[in-house]
Symmetry: C2
């Protein structure tokens, strides 16, 4: 089995927050909306190609991150998507949307507008993940 | 329990192909890309809010439609997404993409360009679904 390496474009655009059972949990470096990405440590490029156990693990991780993002202040709707037209490595976006956010009601992909996180904001997100996710579901890196 | 009614915007933009165990299967009236939509007959608006059994049924239906779409001529990549910023009723897009399609590598949402299907094309899609999906997984309407 080939070892797993995070796609360099994801590594460049995101911060690796930690590891879940199946996936790496990333945070897109753009504070305009809460935008998390799950990257299964697998080589398949489509969800339906994953084995049954991996699919169940991914669903569980999507559930956990969805619940976390939906609980964030101001989040009214989730956008959950596996697209991968540019970066083929399987990755699932879990994004919190608000009816006053920068591109509502349009989708967020393909928009160049970005605002970096401060160190303090990232620290708060990490702490909040540790507090709100079930114990053991995320190992922060 | 409230009865389930398909959102009128989905009903207007799509053709109802049939019913799966959990979801209605729709075809967007736009032949530029193969674009199917699963609409669980439920009232939750987010995947993570569905009960466990419904989630498993939805995953199975996403798997079946993903496999079907990936097997269509010219499909190189799937886009699978639950967005719902405009239409709140939970619905999951399963779209087949090709590196020469009308908006590759951008996402397909929010683009007004449309080409209707012919009656013959729709008939062929229905027949292909019946042939390729496991028996009993889809009741055509």
């Amino acid at each position: 089995m080939k070892s797993f390496t995070l796609d360099p474009r994801l590594a460049n655009d995101c911060l690796v927050l930690g590891e879940m059972r199946l996936s790496l949990l990333l945070l897109l470096k753009n504070s305009l909306v809460p935008w998390f990405i799950l990257v299964p440590r697998r080589h398949q490029t489509e969800i339906f190609e994953l084995g049954r156990e991996d699919q169940e693990a991914l669903l569980e991780e999507i559930n956990l991150i969805s619940g976390f993002v939906k609980g964030l202040s101001g989040v009214e709707k989730l956008n959950v998507a596996a697209i991968g037209n540019v970066v083929k490595q399987l990755h699932v976006h879990v994004i919190g949307r608000n009816s006053e956010d920068f591109c509502w009601p349009n989708v967020v992909w393909g928009r160049p507008k970005k605002t970096p996180y401060t160190v303090e904001e990232i620290r708060a997100i990490r702490e909040s993940l540790v507090t709100k996710l079930p114990e053991g579901s995320l190992q922060l890196t």
